[in-house]
Symmetry: C2
Subunit: 276 residues, 2 copies
């Protein structure tokens, strides 16, 4: 008797189920929204960004590792299947440029560009410093309301700028938290991409209330190489974000994601629409 036939079939991590794509034609793949990663309206932006990156990662012509990703949230994504088209528009010796488009029934819901490339040892220097914070285990996790489905997949330990109490505005827009996947999952470029969108809208913090808000565009630069990801494994990362200017219906957000050992893994920025 084959023992492996009796072994329980491993259940995929909810994150891997959510970003799963089935190739359907050259450069095209089919995905499906995952209720586990729903936001208040539509899917969590981070899972959409991660899925767009994945469409390139599993493309047969892909070369190298992710260097940068820009995602534009062009329209609502409704529950069900979607199609992603990924096309290498230019391949050089050390970089490869991609165009990516997510559509549902012919309507574009998200667009993206990505640059992949090879890394090699050079002079290095990190100029900014990781915020001085207590260790992750010394900070209590904060449970989010259950109706924010995607948040149930993350263990979030807020060090500064936690979810505001009703009606009390915060003097600044900085949020810093330790965060990792639930269940624990080793970090890769896909999950790092999703984590770059983990911050609730900065306007909530400043105003002390929920207002309509949604990301318009998001760009991530990946500093982590494969060794840094392996070293990080499934430990919590430290994520910190702030807004530089709010006004005229939009605000920016600048953020950094640090490895538990103090390595800067990614820098990311967003432009966010809001009403107030």
């Amino acid at each position: 008797m084959d023992e492996t036939a009796l072994a329980p079939k491993e259940t995929p991590h909810p994150f891997d189920s959510a970003v799963e794509l089935t190739p359907s034609a050259p450069g095209l793949s089919i995905g499906h929204t995952s209720p586990a990663y729903n936001n208040i309206v539509g899917p969590y932006g981070g899972i959409t960004a991660a899925t767009l990156l994945k469409s390139v990662q599993q493309h047969p012509e892909r070369l190298g590792e992710p260097l940068s990703l820009t995602v534009n949230f062009a329209g609502p994504i409704t529950e069900g299947i979607f199609q992603i088209a990924a096309r290498p528009v230019r391949t050089n010796r050390s970089t490869q440029h991609w165009w990516i488009e997510l559509s549902q029934e012919g309507a574009v819901a998200a667009t993206a560009t990505a640059v992949f490339g090879t890394r090699r040892g050079t002079w290095s220097s990190t100029e900014i410093t990781m915020p001085a914070v207590p260790a992750a285990d010394d900070v209590a996790p904060l449970p989010f309301p259950e109706f924010i489905a995607w948040s149930q997949n993350y263990e979030m330990r807020f060090v500064a700028g936690s979810i505001p109490d009703s009606g009390t505005g915060h003097p600044d827009s900085t949020t810093t938290l330790w965060v990792r996947d639930i269940p624990a999952r080793a970090l890769d470029y896909t999950s790092l991409t999703a984590l770059c969108d983990v911050f609730f809208p900065r306007v909530f913090l400043r105003r002390g209330k929920l207002v309509p808000a949604g990301t318009v565009s998001m760009t991530t630069y990946f500093h982590a190489d494969a060794a840094a990801l392996a070293k990080q494994s499934d430990s919590a990362v430290l994520a910190t974000a702030r807004t530089q200017r709010f006004g005229n219906g939009y605000f920016d957000q600048a953020a950094e994601v640090w490895g538990s050992g103090g390595e800067l893994l990614a820098v990311t920025q967003q432009l966010v629409y809001f009403k107030d």
Copy 2:
């Protein structure tokens, strides 16, 4: 006799000549590299970014003002003509998403995405503060070497982190300068886009020497509305930039552009390739 017939024909500003585009077919236009905006190899990235934005601005289907622009520098641009394809991929009530591609003889040399949209009055707050600097007129302009053609079109008054003297590395990567077009020209979204790339590569400053370096991807968020641009007119803007991490052949750059009256006009970031 018609006096206007005798008036000297106004010479266009070199910037306007450089970003000029001639529509050739629906969604397509033809441009030409401008020797006045050449960099050491190929055109100044800022002029390419501005030209890509212009292709949307003059598209008959364009709605609203620029909110964000991401430009990916995919390959060399050689002297001569180029073609730009601009396509609105999704138009919503308040935002419009664009895909833009610059090619020469069928090879893609740059890609971009842009979000245009309408601004409306909301709660506003600028959290960061303009660096404390002397007035522009109190800082001497620094002439760049003539072989850096594009720099001759800008009056640059360095307040911090000027071009390094040979061999002497600087302890940090921050550069702050007052800058405006030569000849003076009223600021618009196109010239603001170009100014967002005005910083020489941060690695030169830290290492105190020139090394091969080139922008891979650049994203700009436009905070300025039409009133802010009008108020700025042709005064110098204050531009400040720094790197967060250098390593593995790439560095990021985060920057802000401030109006002379202290208004944050744009925030911008880059990922830059370097050898060292």
